[in-house]
């Protein structure tokens, strides 16, 4: 096991040193190949995702294949722009010096993917790393074994095996990987493991991007127009149970609503869920299942607390053999229960009632900063307050999950939901070093720069710092005291 890691790292370092991955043509070839891989293997991807998570092809396309294709298209369209240096504005007194910021690859990067979106959360960062000119080692999650295996088999068939490698395995291989020096580590997963990754990275001063999670709330304000409320509920249902049955970092974790609205909201939720998932969601084939027994039991345990169990107002059927949990709604479970203190990452939706919806800000601020906050409201002042008084990776008003699709927006957390960001150009930047380059000429020479020091030189430089060109002129023609 150690040998695989060491050999891979050694080979990839050689490849990087050869300069091959820096060529923009090479990067484009790799990205095109990856896009072809995804297109050629669409059915196999659907099968693997069904096997690992019970995902319907639409969910698989929408959240996994589609995301990868979109990212590659966007990257290929913009790569030439991204690799170009950015000119820096320089103060006039060092004319004709030119300055620019040149992005360069970091070297050999390590990407850890998570199990809930085992294709897109594996390949999206890889796209960014390659676009930036790096060599890449990808460690897919062992908890989605069919996808991990598919990736390990197909990538070498399409991409340059001297520069892109897949290393499969569980915690042991992760430990081995983390012992080595990488030029960057990109990790998607839980805060607990995030700490382990960052601690290991610290030994080698390896920069990290941590895409973690948290309890993402949805604030549902009163909406006077009943059709708006219907749309809101549809979006909320799709934002909770749509992505991998609630096992998503930006999936809705819990809802905040005013207590007088709660009964209406719960009724509407039930109606909408019935329409989407039928009376028997397990058989409707529109919802993913729980990834494995460990997580099934974890989610089940959240319901074991009798007070929590008593707060269930809808659903509650758990099928351990098929790892399926039907959508469950809870009304005001105790706030000190685990379900309200840990990220649920499952199909349970606690609805927390407040006297006044404005209290939701304080409620959210009592916990760690989430990856995202959703708010359905038409109150512009309330929107402003949410934006300025809470902190989260992102905020989406009146919809769910769509911030994930926007290539122009940075995707990442803050506080315990992580740091660093990606998507679009942010992916390119995250895997690049922005090198400042100044090009000076031998002339003109500013004598004031050199010792021995005297008052004239001092005054000259002070004026230069102040960009006081007129003052400099006066000094030089002898009309200014020093």
């Amino acid at each position: 096991m150690t040998e695989i890691v060491e050999e891979t790292l050694c080979e990839l370092r050689q490849t990087f040193k050869s300069g091959k991955t820096k060529s923009v043509a090479w990067r484009k070839t790799q990205l095109n190949a990856l896009r072809q891989l995804v297109k050629d293997n669409e059915e196999k991807v659907f099968e693997a995702l069904y096997q690992d998570l019970g995902k319907h092809p639409i969910e698989s396309y929408r959240d996994e294949i589609g995301v990868v294709v979109k990212t590659i298209n966007h990257t290929l369209s913009n790569l030439d722009k991204w690799v170009a240096p950015t000119k820096g504005k320089l103060p006039l007194f060092i004319f004709p010096t030119r300055g620019e910021v040149l992005p360069e690859p970091l070297g050999v990067v390590l990407i850890f993917a998570s199990w809930n979106f085992p294709i897109s959360l594996a390949l999206d960062p890889v796209i960014g790393a390659i676009a930036a000119g790096n060599a890449v080692v990808l460690k897919p999650s062992d908890q989605a074994p069919a996808c991990s295996s598919l990736i390990a088999k197909t990538i070498p068939q399409y991409m340059d095996p001297k520069a892109v490698r897949i290393i499969e395995g569980g915690p042991q291989i992760c430990e081995k990987l983390l012992q080595h020096k990488w030029d960057k580590i990109f990790f998607t997963g839980s805060p607990q493991v995030g700490r382990v990754v960052m601690t290991a990275a610290a030994k080698h001063l390896t920069p990290v991007t941590l895409e973690l999670g948290g309890k993402c709330p949805v604030i549902l304000d009163s909406l006077s127009n009943p059709s708006d409320l219907k749309v809101a509920i549809k979006r909320i249902v799709s934002g909770k149970w749509g992505p991998c049955s609630g096992q998503a970092c930006i999936g809705i974790d819990y809802m905040l609503v005013e207590e007088k609205l709660a009964p209406t909201v719960i009724e509407l939720l039930k109606k909408t869920m019935k329409r989407f998932y039928t009376e028997s969601p397990k058989d409707a084939n529109c919802m993913a299942r729980i990834v494995n027994k460990h997580h099934f039991q974890r989610v089940q345990n959240l319901l074991k607390d009798p007070l929590v169990e008593a707060s269930i107002v809808h659903g509650g059927s758990l099928d351990e053999e098929n790892l399926f949990i039907e959508p469950i709604i809870l009304l005001d479970p105790p706030l000190d229960a685990a379900i309200m203190n840990e990220e649920i990452f499952g199909p349970l939706l606690p609805v927390i009632t407040l006297k006044n919806i404005q209290e939701s800000i304080e409620f959210i601020n009592e916990g760690p900063k989430p990856l995202t906050i959703y708010a359905f409201t038409k109150d512009e002042n309330f929107k402003k307050k949410i934006l300025s008084e809470t902190s989260s990776g992102s905020v989406t008003f009146n919809d769910v999950l769509i911030q994930f699709l926007c290539d122009d927006l940075p995707f990442g957390g803050v506080g315990s939901s992580g740091f660093g960001r990606y998507h679009g150009k942010f992916s390119f930047d995250t895997f690049s070093h922005e090198k400042a380059v100044l090009r000076a000429g031998f002339f003109p020479e500013l004598e004031a720069r050199y010792p021995p020091w005297n008052n004239f030189k001092m005054t000259f430089i002070k004026l230069a710092y102040d960009l006081d060109y007129f003052g400099l002129f006066l000094l030089l023609v002898g009309l200014k005291r020093y």
Binding site: S388, I402, A436, V437, F442, Y450
Partner: protein, 482 residues
């Protein structure tokens, strides 16, 4: 408002708690507060110039010129730039929303991270304390500053002046050494900025990992100067000298550490440097008032150790004189110091300049790349080809062609390291960004709801989805709807 003797874990926790409460009150977020604090920093720097110069003289025997130009003027410029640009930096930036979520709007909002810790260094103790503080405050954070104990007069002055001029509910100074720093590092901060060496950088990052705190590490390394033949030797020598001995006598993170030149050119370069050194510092450089001393006896012993190593003695071709009681070492040049000597294995951080002579100037690249990535790399040449090769093949925090160190003073360029020389960057707008969280915000209305998003999932929905994602033309998308 300095911490008393015996600042321990309890005191650190209390301090963090107090500043958190202050941050939670939203006081530091207001534009007015930030500008008033920046003006406070500007005023304390302007009104206490003489005291600052004295403190720097006491700590480092820093020439008044250097204190004014590299510490005081730079802090003032930083403050003025931040004050001038703050409104524009604080403005949200529009982003392009995704076509698939039409109609929607997207923007990126900058928000403060919270309470940040700035750990400063001893070599530019005023600048490297306040420059990051300028960024932290501009971004709306509360700040704790830990100046270096190896520059005690400056540390004490900073504690006094910040206590007097700044809002002590949100900006505090903690003086002390290892124990106090460790106590601070145990707390949770929203960002840590550390300037110093790689060994302590690792400790800082490992401590930060426990709390998932992002870090900005400004470290160091061996910054090489490659000197090609056929250049204006006088200008090149002067620029090398002022970047080396004119910057705190070589005790600067971006000082030229060593020179690489060709065997044929070496003697010409040495002659030019000797001649310029004489004109700058006279025949008795140990007496020159235009050179800093070595900061303390530990570093003095470390440097003399480098000089006295067997492998290295006999390689001194200029200088080498020392004055132990005044902690001074004269500008010293060495030729052909072996690669495995201590001097070539660690960052020198002092007035010793080894020159390595190679056969061909291109050999310098392999030599530089055999070491860790430095904070800065310099090249003197008239060859466009060599410039391009240098920029393309050497990775460093920043690079300057035909000059040294001036990129430090250009606020439009990011200043930071890569690999062992650090992670993250600051200066100018990059300082504001280093201490901000960029929050993605998406706004939608309730119209434009496509049933395609919702279950039950059908074949028809899948083909529309593919068309939308695949970037097909409008015609194809419409076609897929039927």
């Amino acid at each position: 408002m300095a911490a008393k003797v015996g600042f321990d874990g309890e005191a650190a926790a209390a301090l963090a708690k107090e500043l958190r409460a202050s941050f939670a009150s939203s006081k530091t977020r207001s534009y007015e507060w930030r500008v008033s604090q920046l003006n406070g920093l500007l005023k304390l720097t302007t009104d206490h110039e003489a005291e600052i110069v004295d403190a720097l003289n006491s700590d480092l025997s820093k020439p008044e010129f250097e204190s004014l130009i590299y510490e005081i003027c730079m802090v003032k410029s930083s403050c003025k730039l931040a004050i001038k640009q703050l409104k524009s930096w604080m403005k949200p930036k529009k982003a392009k929303p995704s076509m698939t979520t039409f109609p929607s709007s997207a923007k990126i909002v900058s928000e403060p991270l919270g309470v940040v810790l700035v750990i400063s260094a001893w070599n530019y103790p005023f600048l490297l304390s306040l420059d990051p503080v300028v960024g932290a405050i501009a971004a709306g954070n509360a700040v704790v500053l830990k100046p270096s104990e190896l520059a005690p007069a400056t540390s004490s002055l900073l504690a006094k002046l910040l206590g007097k001029y700044m809002d002590s509910s949100s900006v505090r100074v903690v003086e002390g050494a290892v124990a106090e720093t460790s106590a601070l590092l145990e707390q949770k901060w929203d960002k840590i900025c550390y300037t110093g060496n790689a060994r302590v950088g690792r400790i800082v990052m490992a401590s930060a990992a426990k709390h998932l705190t992002p870090v900005l590490l400004e470290l160091g390394g061996k910054s090489p100067v490659v000197v090609d033949s056929g250049i204006n030797l006088q200008v090149a020598s002067r620029r090398i000298i002022v970047g080396k001995w004119g910057c705190n006598n070589g005790q600067a993170c971006i000082s030229p550490d060593y020179i690489i030149t060709t065997k044929d050119f070496a003697s010409k370069l040495v002659d030019a440097m000797k001649s310029e050194l004489d004109s700058f510092y006279g025949k008795n450089p140990l007496q020159s008032k235009d050179l800093s001393r070595i900061v303390n006896y530990n570093h003095y012993a470390r440097l003399t150790n480098l000089l006295d190593e067997d492998k290295v003695s006999g390689k001194v071709i200029h200088g080498g004189e020392r004055d132990t009681s005044n902690l001074r070492i004269a500008p010293t040049i060495l030729l052909d110091v072996p690669q495995d000597s201590l001097m070539m294995q660690e960052e020198i951080f002092g007035p010793l300049l080894p020159i390595i002579a190679v056969d061909k100037i291109e050999d310098s690249f392999d030599l530089i790349n055999s070491g860790t990535k430095p904070l800065a790399a310099y090249l003197f040449t008239n060859s466009q080809k060599l410039k391009d090769q240098f920029v393309r093949n050497i990775s460093a925090g920043g690079m300057v062609i035909n000059d040294t160190t001036i990129h430090l003073a250009v606020p439009s360029l990011p200043f930071g390291g890569v690999g062992e020389s650090g992670m993250g960057a600051y200066h100018g707008k990059f300082s504001f960004e280093a201490f901000s969280h960029k929050k993605a915000v998406v706004c939608r209305g309730f119209l434009g709801d496509a049933s395609l998003r919702y279950p039950p999932y059908t074949e028809g929905k899948l083909s529309v989805l593919k068309a939308l994602v695949g970037g097909d033309s409008i015609v194809d998308i419409i076609r897929s709807l039927f």
